[in-house]
Amino acid sequence: MRKDQNLGEYLRSQGVSRRGFLKFCSATASLMALPPSAVAQVAEALAAARRPSVIWLSFQECTGCTESLTRSHSPTVESLIFDAISLDYHHTLQAAAGHGAEAAREAAQEENKGEYILVVDGSIPVDNPAYSTIAGISNLDMLKHSAKDCFAIVAVGTCAAYGGLPGAEPNPTGAVAVSDIITDKPIINVSGCPPIPVVITGVLAHFLTFGTIPELDALGRPTAFFGQNIHDRCYRRPFYERGEFAETFDDEGARKGWCLYKLGCKGPITYNACATVKWNQGMGFPIQAGHGCIACSEPRFWDKGGFYDALSTGDWGSREALLGAAAVGAALGAGSAIRARARKRKAMAEEEA
């Protein structure tokens, strides 16, 4: 795709018919969780869309996000979108390596000043920047440098969005989120561990289509995908309402597909599109597979108590602490009673006098 071509021209030059384009637009609209009525708008915008440059930085991460993306279940559409963007740097996917790769990154940044999209996966260690470096450049420096000229940042995965697993207690590397470092650029958090692949492409599609920042929730996530919680969209919800719960993973309730609340499902506090978009070619999602949601798209999900502790339980401390408090209370009560007795005796003595 030539830089001066728009997407419509490019697709037609690739022999894609208008029908094919419309189908692509339908799928893209569905991907972006837009209503079908928006297809025409999407088509119009996409036909005129310019090809954005993307620089993808991977920091303290497990590559799960990239794995997720490359396992995206609609490769045709996705490849179209990837064709439609110019992925100028992604050190896992790109063919170039070493100095050449870094030079490409610098070149892309220079060439697309103020227009490129910076995608980040992984958190950034700040206790000691040397904990994670690429080509001798610390993650912190690279992020700051790359963010300087970008149009917007997409923080892919819970690590980049909120610190994620590296940031879990006791956070040995001092891992922080992108938003903890960069404050002067729009940041779109595509959280999840990993994020749903089509959500990643959906956000890129939004850029491609509209060239704008999508509507975000309070945690910086696109409301199109993170607007509703799992519990509200869960097909097992009727069991919750009826109070029918699986008590163990192999009981009758589990077999009947009852609600997993008691087994620690965090669906009610988790905002993600799993229950509708689903995973693995739309086959299902964790709850459908019989395991509760672990709130992987929420900040600090590692530190929200056990994955198998029901949501309504809390970290109430220990019995010993409660008994200790009770013992202190009893001592204070006894003390107050002893002083009250003294006061009473004094009053009685005064009365006698």
Partner: protein, 444 residues
């Protein structure tokens, strides 16, 4: 058997004639408040603390109170009557007093004067509220402490103040002293009833009250007849005959102790085994249940009501009672301090039934019976006469509903109060005393 209304007025006049007529000077306001608080503190113990901490302010106790019921005045709700005590408890003794203190106003002299009306004029300590409280709070005993606090502040109604001073200092009540007792006994002798005085070697001692002596001396005569008939080795002591305890009524614990000690000391001195209390509610209460606590030691003798004495004598076969052959019916007025607070609910009814009376119960009755409205000194308070009369009206209707031939009671104060009410309303139902009824029906 009706009492002349002149004798009612005579008693009132006698009380009025005591000096002085207004609130006594002498104590500063601060000293009064301090005394009241000390009295509160002395009586507040773990039991009261639990009661005060349990109260939910649900207000149900109001529904049990005859003074609230007849006036619908919310200030007469029993829970309101002990509010001052609660405040002192919260400020000075409760476990979290340091937290409550800033939010709980201290009690003032004006509070004490205001509450005087609630706990003297509008409360007879009948303890009906104790029976309704869903939390089991012993409300009447809390109100009682407020009365003692106001008593300690020397702010009790002037009439009671004069009467308790007189009893404490002169061992007489409205002039009724040992001399008067001897006179009444002389009159009884003329009627053929012997009352042994200062008899050596007696093991049983009879107590009577000022009300009996002035209003119903025949009750004393009836008690004497029953004791003698039952073969008791009994006597009366002109320097320790008074069961009435105005110190108790007035909320003055010092005066109360003096009056109680006179009897206890006399009984101990004479080696008395049984003290029989004539027809009085509060006299029984102050000796039977409070006596040992007042003097601070267990009593070496039994305290029994004349009701209990009669029943025991019947059981022992020492006296036999004639059966009525005309099927006469009576209703029984439970004196609060004998029944609800004294445990004598079935006993008087059994005695009446043993005489063949058709005993008709008021609605409500027994443990939930309404007070006559004049208990605990209420009947001598001019300030309470209006309230007292309203309660009487309530009682009167209940008696009338039983369609009994007469009402029987076992407390001279109740009886007196009924007479005053009957006098005002021209109520015709005969008002009888239990002992007189028993004495009149003793078989030879």
């Amino acid at each position: 058997m009706n009492v002349e209304s002149t004798s009612v007025h005579e008693l009132e006049a006698a009380i009025e004639n005591l000096e002085p007529t207004v609130e006594r000077l002498g104590l500063s306001d601060e000293e009064r408040v301090a005394r009241a608080k000390r009295a509160f503190l002395r009586k507040l113990d773990g039991r009261k603390a639990v009661d005060l901490d349990t109260c939910l302010h649900c207000g149900m106790c109001a529904e049990a109170c005859p003074f609230y019921e007849t006036t619908q005045d919310e200030r007469y709700a029993p829970v309101h009557k002990y509010r001052l005590l609660r405040r002192v408890y919260r400020r000075q003794l409760s476990p979290m007093r340091f937290l409550y203190r800033p939010f709980t106003p201290d009690i003032t002299i004006d509070d004490l004067r205001e509450w005087r009306h609630y706990v003297f004029d509008a409360c007879t300590g009948c303890a009906r509220c104790d029976m309704i409280c869903p939390m089991g709070v012993n409300i009447s005993s809390l109100i009682r402490i407020v009365r003692e606090g106001i008593g300690a502040a020397d702010l009790m109604p002037p009439r009671l103040q004069r009467m308790k001073d007189e009893q404490q200092q002169k061992n007489s009540i409205v002039g009724v002293d040992g001399q008067r007792l001897r006179q009444e006994i002389a009159k009884l002798n003329e009627q053929g009833v012997t009352v042994p005085i200062d008899k050596d070697g007696a093991d049983t001692m009879l107590l009577t009250t000022v009300t009996e002596l002035r209003m119903f001396p025949s009750q004393l005569g009836a008690c004497a007849s029953i004791l003698t008939k039952a073969g008791a080795n009994w006597t009366m002591y002109p320097d320790a005959f008074e069961a009435a305890n105005i110190g108790y009524v007035a909320g003055d614990t010092a005066a109360m102790r003096v009056a109680t000690k006179r009897i206890v000391d006399k009984a101990k001195e004479k080696g008395i085994k049984t003290v029989v209390v004539g027809e009085t509610g509060h006299g029984y209460q102050t000796l039977r249940w409070l006596g040992a606590n007042t003097v601070g030691e267990r009593l070496p003798f039994d305290v029994v009501s004349i009701i209990e004495f009669i029943q025991q004598a019947q059981a022992d076969g020492r006296i036999a009672l004639k059966k009525q052959d005309n099927g006469a019916s009576v209703t029984y007025l439970d004196p609060c301090r004998l029944s609800r607070k004294g445990g004598l609910i079935e006993q008087p009814r059994e005695i009446l039934k043993s005489m063949g009376f058709d005993v008709r119960e008021t609605e409500p009755t027994g443990r939930e019976n309404y007070c006559c409205g004049g208990g605990c000194g209420e009947y001598v308070l001019s300030t309470g006469s209006e309230l007292r009369h309203r309660v009487f009206e309530l009682k009167k209707n209940q008696f009338d509903d039983t369609e009994a031939d007469g009402v029987v009671t076992a407390c001279a104060s109740c009886r007196f109060n009924l007479h005053v009410g009957a006098d005002k309303t021209n109520w015709q139902m005969p008002i009888k005393s239990l002992v007189e009824t028993v004495a009149a029906n003793m078989a030879d």
